[in-house]
């Protein structure tokens, strides 16, 4: 057995191994770049898509339903998972108003849970279990000219993105609404007399 021949054989095997490793890495890199390219190209077909809760008013959608609100072409779509897509033409939207709302997280189960905590502990939980949301109010018309209004609740920041997207498509935007301060109820008393 010639020791030099054995050494050169191991060396050749090592180069081959490194070659295959490099080829594998290259293929992996190409695969990853294709996937990322697809992800990057998707926003061009749908410039806006976000999770939203439909509170009321959007034709064909149930109230208090969570789903995806998206803009595709000249249509504003809302889709609840497992349900058909409903939508309106952006051209039919007459006004958009952005508002803000603070709501307790966890819904009714959380409310009942905090009410059940003894020694008023639920109140402390309630104090910290609130989250601020954006509310987007859309005013739009149907084919007969009937006036519609729809309200969506979105995560903070997403409402302004939707408003900007709609404004870029020529929809009239009303400045943000601010919750008014507490008003006097003196008028109520005079009304009831």
């Amino acid at each position: 057995m010639n020791p030099t021949a054995i050494q050169s054989k191991y060396l050749a095997d090592g180069y081959l191994c490194a070659f295959y490793l490099a080829l594998g890495l290259l293929l992996l890199l190409i695969g990853c770049s294709t996937v990322f390219a697809q992800d990057a190209s998707s926003p061009t077909t749908s410039p806006f898509s976000a999770h939203a809760t439909h509170l009321l008013g959007f034709e064909g959608a149930r109230g208090n339903a969570g789903g995806t609100l998206s803009i595709e072409g000249d249509v504003l779509h809302f889709q609840k998972p497992g349900k058909p897509v409903v939508g309106i033409k952006i051209a039919s939207v007459r006004d958009v108003v952005l508002g803000e709302q603070s709501k307790q997280v966890g819904g009714l189960p959380m409310t009942l849970g905090t009410a059940a905590v003894p020694y008023g502990g639920g109140r402390v939980v309630s104090l910290f279990a609130h989250k601020k949301y954006d509310t987007v109010t859309l005013e739009y018309g149907d084919a007969n000219g009937g006036f519609h209004g729809a309200i969506f609740q979105m995560n903070k920041g997403q409402g302004s993105t939707l408003r900007d997207q709609l404004a870029a498509r020529g929809v009239h935007v009303t400045p943000n609404e601010v919750e008014p301060a507490k008003q006097s109820t003196a008028e109520v008393a005079s009304e009831s007399k």
């Binding site: 009321l56 008013g57 508002g99 709302q101 309630s126 149907d142 006036f147 008003q183 109820t185």
Partner: protein, 193 residues
Amino acid sequence: MRASKHILILGLAVLIVAGAAALPAQLIAQTGTEKSSSESPGSNAARWIVQVDKVDPGDVDLTSSFQIAIYENLLDELSKTKRFKHVFRDGDRGASEVPDLLILKTAVRTYTAGSETRRAVTTVSGATKLTVRSQLCTRDGQVVLERTVNGNVRFFGSNLRATHNLARNVAKAIQQAQLQQPGVPAPVQSGQL
């Protein structure tokens, strides 16, 4: 002697069973007549068609989402009452050709902005209160019905729930009112709910 005793017991049992069977039928008949008598006051209202106008905020600083929520909830609740042949939206061109049309005008009188967090933490404060004046008018401006209605959220629920409660109260007020048949001049009915 013993046989006649048996016959007597059997006769009594038959009488009890017959009485028990007859009583529920009598009760059903009673509730049926009560129902029909309670339905009769406004049954002629089904001849009318109603159009819901946009909410007039007046001098009250009411957010756009609240105005829209009142309007949409009114449409929902009025449809549920089945007191009208059809419920039109504001601006619907189909309403212009309808002869027996009533227009529901809603003007906000007072609004007290509440807070869901304050309600959850303190229970006694943070209520959202709304008072509106609802008028049912004919096309020529004659007021058929006028009511001042409240809608509040005191304990559980979001602020917008006040609009749902308000719309339900308006629909209830309209359902309980006696509306004259179309074409007959009617005295104005006013009140508070």
